[in-house]
Symmetry: C2
């Protein structure tokens, strides 16, 4: 039912096409934007165009950047011999928040998923191989998500990396710090048990 004016329906459709936004939320967002002062609404539209126009992938690590290289690849204080492979740009942020890791990243922009027709050529695996072939890399840390797709992606890449004679590691599985054993799922507890370390 197209009850609202066409351009408002169109805006609602656009919001509803975003992930996690249902029809009702989309209506609320569209009404909110309509209610904004002229200038703020224009700023919103421009923010989309600007970001789209100026953000691109770092040619080295494929993270999002506006400069030629991303700030991490451009920094000479980062250890270029270690590459942490993540699925998404936001995962870089998560690891950076820890202030522990001092190497570089490689952002795959996805994970292998036969169900969603995402194959090896759809994510930035080739770029990773080229990078490892051309540079002196000691260690590749697979930090894809601990789910089926992330796991499969990590396995797949680690097999591709065999001929390069580089150390390939995977983030540790285990119980989260500050959590409660009672609420840990079986798979996690089993992995925590397998990966136990001496105190």
């Amino acid at each position: 039912m197209s009850f609202f004016p066409a351009s408002l329906e169109n805006l609602i459709d656009k919001f509803a096409s975003l992930p996690g936004i249902g029809r009702k939320s989309a209506q609320r967002l569209a009404f909110y934007v309509l209610g904004l002062p002229e200038e703020e609404a224009r700023d919103f539209a421009n923010a989309i165009l600007d970001a789209k126009a100026s953000v691109h992938c770092c040619p080295v690590c494929q993270n999002l950047t506006e400069g030629e290289l991303c700030s991490i690849c451009a920094s000479d204080r980062r250890d270029k011999g270690t590459i942490c492979v993540v699925s998404e740009p936001r995962d870089v942020l998560s690891i950076e928040r820890g202030h522990e890791y001092n190497g570089t990243y490689h952002v795959l922009h996805g994970a292998l998923s036969p169900m969603s027709h995402v194959g090896p050529d759809d994510i930035k695996i080739k770029e990773l191989l080229v990078r490892i072939a051309d540079n002196d890399v000691d260690e590749v840390i697979m930090a894809t998500n601990p789910d089926t797709e992330g796991e499969a992606t990590a396995m797949y890449i680690s097999r591709l990396l065999k001929p390069f004679n580089v150390k390939v590691t995977r983030l540790a599985y285990g119980i989260p710090v500050g959590s409660n054993l009672e609420f840990a799922d079986d798979a996690t507890l089993n992995r925590a048990m397998e990966g136990r370390t001496e105190m």
Copy 2:
């Protein structure tokens, strides 16, 4: 912390300024928009500009419209003698969904709320009074929300309408159809009891 490229941060900020969108969701939405094909991202931005440029308030009922009058005020099949007063354009949609009401609407675009500094001049009350003074109106149905602000707004307007000698009614309070007495709150049950009708 400004970790992402500036234009991406700006887009995240814009999404985060929308109602009900937190920082994390805003990041997800911004990444999604960045990942859209060039053209679709431009369509999104244009949808905002278009809606903002072409949607305005119907001069009669203040509902949102692209035409000169809204479709309800323009229709000669609607009863112009009955005005249903609602807070927001989306409330019109809710009532229209029932396919029962055949009168016209008046959209206040808000409700009186001293806490948020919304006074009688900030919502479309004056327009309602002018409309009732100039036209032959039999009944005004107050359909503002059944909360404190909506209640206060309905009371305030009904008092203003006294001199016009027009019938002012309020939507019935009671238990929702299909619900369960067990889960009805006290205030609703009391109102349902007060408003009981003979069978």
